[in-house]
């Protein structure tokens, strides 16, 4: 059977551990712990049972605040990314392990060492979602502080990633002989040498971790700006995007794939994987009903007011969430009522946003809470298992995505119905694997293996020494 010519476009599936935002419905009686290891083990093993490509963990390095207080309406608290991923490597065998790690509040030497270690400990399943948050608010938790101007963050991220790549490549793969008979452990002294000098990093030395199974972690990028897209086209293996619908997904997909050529890359060297929420029912009608309930749980009256305050940037606690939008205008300024949220920076023009929202609320007769539900909580996939499978297959077929990073709303069992009911349909249709064919995450994603430096040259004399 000629696999390459007849095989349908494959759907890549991944699972995002429910996050510290209002997508996660902690008030549901089925909702479990966000820190107990059992929650993470259950979630990871469910994803692996569904033959998913990887598990995804987000990260935020400062607890969110609203109106000067720690924000308490959503889940608060999460484990350290590297630690939990390394632990999960011990109770899974194939599942990729993707961690979000900030390039501003870390040093390349440490991060490269940690990812290379994770790749060893998982036998080639590590991935790094590079984020570039730079704000002074988060910086208060670090030596670095909030020193980075916004326009410099991608520049530093690029330099950080270039440096990290040099560190990953500092071991060529053939350094360790471990020849017990001759007593020669190393082929040559001083392996892992590196040197990097630029405006951001002026460092030199030796890395301690031998070349890892994948060579380096798979690289994810999540920013949506022009610079973010360019960064992804140049460096990333996959994009974690927000554009999960046909209308938004197709242009985004076309845009980032078109950017690859200028970096000498093929279209299949960068996967586009939007985040996607889902609600399943026995019938489409039942799923719609359930989805409505979930949205109301996700956007309580109090949450709706907070969302509104993020745009209005002022105290709106006197307003009735079941009433109309405020007549007063947003306060425009640098000092924001809400801190530590990526979404706040999306509202670049609050006056225009407020105007658009008022118009929509008026036209559709929506209360504050109803509008906020419409603006923020629409699930990506709603329907019977067959309907959801249809939607997913269609979006991938139409090149709106290469697959989806699913975000369940219940911790940790929210993924189970998808794996139990939708995955078998996708497998039946031949668009999702029935078993893992490879062992590394690169293989799951269909990415070619990276060249191993020691196999590229025939001479060994210059091993590990860079000028």
């Amino acid at each position: 059977m000629s696999r390459h010519s007849t095989r349908k476009r494959q759907v890549h599936l991944a699972a995002h551990f429910p996050g510290v935002n209002n997508t996660t419905v902690w008030s549901d009686p089925a909702s479990g712990s966000h820190i107990d290891p059992d929650s993470f083990v259950h979630f990871a093993q469910t994803a692996e049972r569904g033959k998913f490509d990887f598990l995804f963990l987000a990260e935020g390095l400062r607890l969110r605040e609203h109106a000067g207080r720690i924000y308490d309406l959503d889940v608060v608290g999460r484990p350290d990314t590297f630690t939990i991923l390394a632990a999960l490597a011990g109770v899974t065998t194939h599942l990729g392990l993707t961690g979000t790690i900030n390039s501003t509040f870390n040093e390349p030497y440490e991060v490269a060492r940690q990812f290379a270690t994770l790749d060893h400990l998982s036998e080639g399943r590590a991935a790094w979602n590079v984020v570039t948050s730079w704000d002074a608010f988060t910086g208060e938790n670090f030596r670095r502080g909030g020193f980075l101007a916004a326009e410099q963050r991608y520049e530093r991220a690029r330099s950080f990633l270039d440096t990290a790549f040099e560190l990953f490549d500092s071991w060529r793969g053939d350094e360790v002989l471990a020849d017990q008979a001759t007593g020669q452990f190393l082929r040559a002294p001083g392996p892992g040498a590196f040197e990097h000098h630029d405006a951001h990093f002026d460092i030199a030395g030796h890395t301690t971790v031998p070349r890892s199974p994948q060579g380096r972690p798979v690289i994810f990028q999540a920013g949506d700006s022009e610079e973010g897209r360019e960064f992804a086209a140049q460096h990333a293996d996959a994009i974690f995007s927000r554009h999960g619908t046909l209308e938004e997904g197709r242009p985004f997909y076309a845009d980032v794939k078109a950017r690859l050529a200028k970096y000498g890359r093929e279209r299949d060297e960068l996967l586009v994987l939007p985040a996607a929420t889902f609600v399943l029912g026995d019938t489409d009608a039942e799923a719609e009903e359930l989805a409505r309930e979930v949205r109301r749980a996700q956007v309580s009256g109090a949450t709706a007011i907070v969302f509104l305050e993020q745009v209005w940037n002022r105290d709106l606690s006197a307003y009735d969430p079941d009433g109309p939008l405020p007549d007063v205008d947003p306060v425009v300024g640098e000092e924001l009522i809400s801190k530590g949220r990526a979404s706040v920076r999306m509202y670049r023009d609050p006056l225009a946003t407020a105007k658009a929202w008022r118009e929509r609320a008026q036209a559709e007769g929506l209360s504050i809470r109803e509008l906020m539900i419409e603006q923020t909580a629409r699930q990506t996939f709603v329907g019977s298992p067959t309907t959801v499978a249809d939607q997913i297959e269609h979006l991938v077929e139409a090149e709106a995505a290469d697959g989806f990073i699913l975000v369940p709303h219940i911790t940790p069992a929210g993924l189970d119905p998808f794996v139990d009911r939708v995955v078998p349909i996708l497998q039946e249709r031949g668009v999702h694997r029935t078993d893992y064919e490879g062992t590394t995450l690169r293989e799951h994603l269909g990415l070619r293996p990276l060249p191993v430096p020691s196999l590229l040259t025939t001479t060994v004399g210059a091993a590990g020494v860079s000028a």
Binding site: L73, V76, G77, A89, E140, F142, Q184, F185, P189
Partner: protein
């Protein structure tokens, strides 16, 4: 009789530089999870209190300031904190204490990493803290020129005392920030109050507001308070400035005596510092400090066999380990090592941290011959009883420093109503 505690220090192929050449060694597996899982499960089968995992932000070297030119020794290592994490869910009882370097690293990251290790192991985590005066480590971070400049010191010349003090002070601040961040969530901060829609009681999360010469950290942590409240902080000490660090900052100290008298002197030196400068500010009160003696072990039941094996290893390495080791190198029988353990316990130590010369041989000898010998004498456990590492070491779960003040605040608020 106080209980005897036994830790094992794991490092590469073992503590003898020729260990990797032994027939049972697995030098090609040193960078695999399988190798470490086998070792730690063996230690757990032997009912040991905990394992430590060595680490450094540099390649191993016989030269303290730069990589050496050797090719005949193990070089390369994995990150110890991740390694401990990888072992968390495949072990059930043993304490996991990876090494971390305070110099150059952000305290915020290891604080949540060790907190997470504690959650993942349900209370079996600790961290062995070390500081760095290595110029090659400094050059890899590029932010401490005064440390990188130590590369130009003449051989035998020591770094300026003020710089050494500064690096240890930074280490003390680093531990202080870890502990504050572990306390920054009260144990019952998560309330999940559906009626009011609040997941946490925000009054039970606290900023830590640490300001020091090398870093300032606002807090609170992003990670919930660990099961032990504060995971164990451990440190190795040879010299007075480090004794002070152990006394001020650690729950568990590792010392390197070579005989009973020195054990007595070192214990006294650390305990004196503890009295001068209690590790626990903010009126939380004195906490016990456990001290273990470090010993490199070559162990064999046949009298004379261990010494013979050590001589063979030394010959293969080209140097006698006893000449370069900071800790006593013991070659003998399980009964002799048991005698030493009890003698040092009598001298004031709480037990030993054993450094197996060869892995897995000397680890097997510890778990399969030393432990039974100690059990026969009725001085070592015959089953794991305690749930957490702190309980095993008879260290109380620390009271949350912020909970005290917030209870007082609540009382004030209520009085004001």
């Amino acid at each position: 009789m106080r209980p005897l505690h036994l830790a094992v220090a794991l490092d590469g192929a073992g503590w003898h530089p020729a260990a990797w050449r032994e027939p049972t060694a697995r030098p090609r597996d040193l960078f695999t999870a399988r190798y470490w899982t086998d070792l730690v499960r063996e230690a757990e089968a032997g009912l040991l209190d905990l394992v430590t995992i060595e680490d450094a932000l540099r390649l191993q070297s016989d030269d303290p300031r730069r990589p050496d030119e050797r090719t005949d020794r193990v070089r390369g290592r994995l990150d110890a904190v991740l390694l401990a994490a990888r072992l968390a869910l495949v072990t059930r009882h043993i304490g996991l204490v990876p090494s971390a370097t305070a110099t150059h690293t952000e305290p915020f990251h290891p604080s949540k990493a060790i907190a997470t290790l504690d959650h993942t192991t349900r209370g079996r985590a600790g961290v062995r803290v070390q500081v760095s005066l290595r110029p090659d480590e400094a050059a890899q971070f590029g932010r401490r020129p005064e440390l990188a400049a130590l590369a130009t010191l003449a051989p035998g010349q020591t770094p300026p005392a003020a710089l050494v003090e500064d690096v240890f002070d930074e280490g003390r601040d680093w531990v202080e920030v870890l502990r504050r961040l572990w306390d920054s969530w009260e144990d019952d901060a998560e309330i999940r109050d559906v009626a009011t829609g609040r997941f946490i009681d925000a009054d039970k999360l606290h900023t830590v507001d640490f300001t020091g010469p090398h870093f300032s950290v606002r807090g609170p942590s992003i990670t919930q308070r660990p099961p032990q409240g504060q995971p164990l902080v451990a440190a190795l000490s040879h010299v007075p400035v480090a004794h002070r660090f152990v006394a001020r900052s650690a729950d568990l100290g590792f010392l390197t005596p070579h005989d009973d008298d020195e054990a007595r002197r070192l214990v006294a030196a650390v305990r004196d510092e503890r009295e001068v400068q209690p590790a626990w500010p903010d009126g939380v009160g004195d906490q016990p400090l456990r001290l273990l003696g470090d010993v490199v072990v070559v162990l064999d039941e046949t009298p004379g066999a261990a010494a013979e094996r050590l001589a063979r290893l030394d010959a293969a390495a080209g140097t006698a380990l006893a000449r370069t080791s900071d800790a006593l190198v013991f070659a003998g029988t399980p009964a002799e090592l048991a005698d030493l353990a009890l003698a040092w316990q009598h001298a004031g130590l709480d037990g030993l941290r054993l450094r197996p010369a060869v892995l897995p041989d000397d680890l097997h000898a510890i778990t399969r011959t030393l432990v039974p010998e100690l059990q026969r004498r009725g001085v070592f456990r015959t089953a794991y009883a305690e749930r957490t590492l702190r309980e095993r070491l008879r260290l109380p779960r620390p009271t949350n420093r912020y909970a005290l003040s917030s209870t007082a605040d609540t009382a004030d608020r209520e009085a004001a109503r």
